[in-house]
Amino acid sequence: MRKAILVIASLLLAASCKTTSQPQANDARLATEIFEMRFDPATKPIAAANLTGLRTGNDLFSHRNDSRTYFMYDAARASGTAEPFPGTDEELLALAARVLERVGIPKDEVAKARVLQEQHGVGAFDKTTHTITNRKESNGKRYALLTREIDGVPVVSSRLLLTAGYDKRASFAELHWPVISKDVVREAKRLQGLVRYGWQAPEEQAAKPETIEAVIIHSPAAATVMDIRAVVRVIYRSADDRVSMKVQRFFDGDGRPVAPPRTFAKLPELGNEKRKSQPQGKP
């Protein structure tokens, strides 16, 4: 029943959404050119915040208007229970490389291109003995992951992540590769020089610096704002292994802390942010 309600709501939304300022054919053309997606020419583009796109049935194509960021998804072909991509790892990486080429991203910005192999396990649980029976493991989807650098500086927030379906076309992709200004790259190179010549990481209580690196960071693919910064990234390791999540901090060249890029221009109100109950015994 809820599904039916949501389907009707989605249809009505599509019917009532404002159309984008782009010509109707533009998004459909982009979807075809970049990801070989095919949308009915009658599909109305829709817009929300900084995204525009097309959505019909299982298919979605969208892109940000403030960043070189594209999403595509085919729910039927991308499912882990659908027929898998039959090609080699090299074919998957070649498909990803073609996507970058179609968007006009230079090859020399690819820092590393690799395939991640997802794995699956399944087993029955014996509630009496707490043991697993009928355990089976198998390979799942493969992901092409392309990371980025500019002139030797890692752009750690950028990536192309792509999976493909049985027909060797992309079934899911997040391409987040914003244009970086020359000023930001210049500052990153300056920071890289400082690090090379012994830049000292500020002290962090109860933790020790593990890696120090000049990088470019920016807002994530899903965000209502786009911040881009050159920073020195320091990864600190806890001095006590009883807790070990690594502290990640960003600094400018003078060792002043830099805030991470924002996700929201203005965070929505959260609600119920204060605990009222008091402990009875050890909390």
């Binding site: 009505l12 939304l13 087993g123 799942g140 806890s238 009883r242 070990s244 999540m245």
Partner: protein
């Protein structure tokens, strides 16, 4: 009367009706560990805030968004008082719970080593909650939780997944976490939790103009299953060899596999009888 007006009236009615069945959520984010003598994690609270932001935009009602010392180990324990059914915001009260804070790893973990949620409560200090020994989530343990997202160190080590995780599924549908070691671990990422959340809701919204003046969810990000969303985002800001892990329970093998691959937050599926488990992972 204009057709567009009728459409919008119907739209509001339907969305309000649909929203009544959307899942409730809570987040617990802990930056402040120095009161317990351990390194602060500067972006756990803001990352939990961003997750809450996307869930809010998707129309999910917030149950609680507790931060720092307000998050206690007992919020995750099934027994004792208070416990995970603390009506203010225990982890077994909403349908979705995200924890962002420290966990505890071994180097390397063994098949009988525990997994931990390790908050720094404002009374009692650092609290090592042993997941497999203390926690049970879902309707069969008196709670409501369906989806549990642990943004911490090593809360779901693959080698001990049967020991630590199968017993805690008592109506819980899907859980996500990382497998790693104390030397190869996750980073305190400002972005990873929110990137995951947005894919689980296909976040975004549309603002309906006057006379309605309301915001409605709109799907323009890929609306992935919980498992797919974690596989797509769980390896951001982690060391080499860290794995993103998702696990689902099902009555039958096919049910467990289907939930592992395809269950979404808004599916409204019934609580599974945990006879079978399906898990998936991808490593950096």
């Amino acid at each position: 009367m204009k057709p567009a007006f009728i459409t919008n009236v119907l739209l509001v009615f339907i969305m309000v009706t649909a929203e009544a069945a959307t899942p409730t959520y809570s987040t617990g984010g802990v930056d402040a560990y120095m009161p317990c003598g351990f390194p602060n994690l500067p972006w756990r609270v803001s990352s939990a805030d961003a997750v809450a932001g996307w869930f809010n935009l998707a129309g999910f009602p917030a149950f609680s968004n507790w931060r720092n010392g307000d998050v206690w180990g007992n919020d995750f324990r099934n027994a004792g008082s208070p416990n995970d059914r603390d009506p203010g915001g225990g982890s077994d009260v909403p349908q979705i719970y995200l924890y962002a804070g420290h966990g505890t790893c071994q180097d390397p973990p063994g098949p009988t080593d525990p997994d931990f949620i390790t908050p720094c409560g404002n009374i009692g200090g650092l609290d090592f909650d042993d997941i497999g020994a203390n926690d049970k989530w879902g309707s069969q343990s008196g709670g409501s939780l369906q989806f549990l997202f642990l943004e911490a160190s090593c809360p779901m080590d693959l080698i001990s997944i049967g020991n630590n995780w199968f017993p805690v599924f008592r109506g819980l549908h899907v859980a996500t976490g990382h497998s790693g070691t104390s030397t190869h671990d996750t980073y305190d990422s400002a972005q990873r939790p929110a990137n995951f959340a947005v894919y689980t809701v296909g976040g975004g919204r549309i603002d309906l103009p006057f006379p309605f003046g309301v915001s409605l969810p709109l799907i323009l990000y890929p609306p992935l299953s919980v498992g797919d969303a974690w596989m797509a985002t769980g390896l951001q800001d982690v060391d080499e060899s860290v794995c993103a892990v998702a696990i689902a329970a099902g009555e039958t093998e096919a049910d467990a596999v289907d939930r592992r691959e395809n269950e979404r937050l808004t599916d409204g599926r019934s609580d599974p009888i945990p006879n079978w488990f399906g898990w998936r992972w991808v490593c950096n």
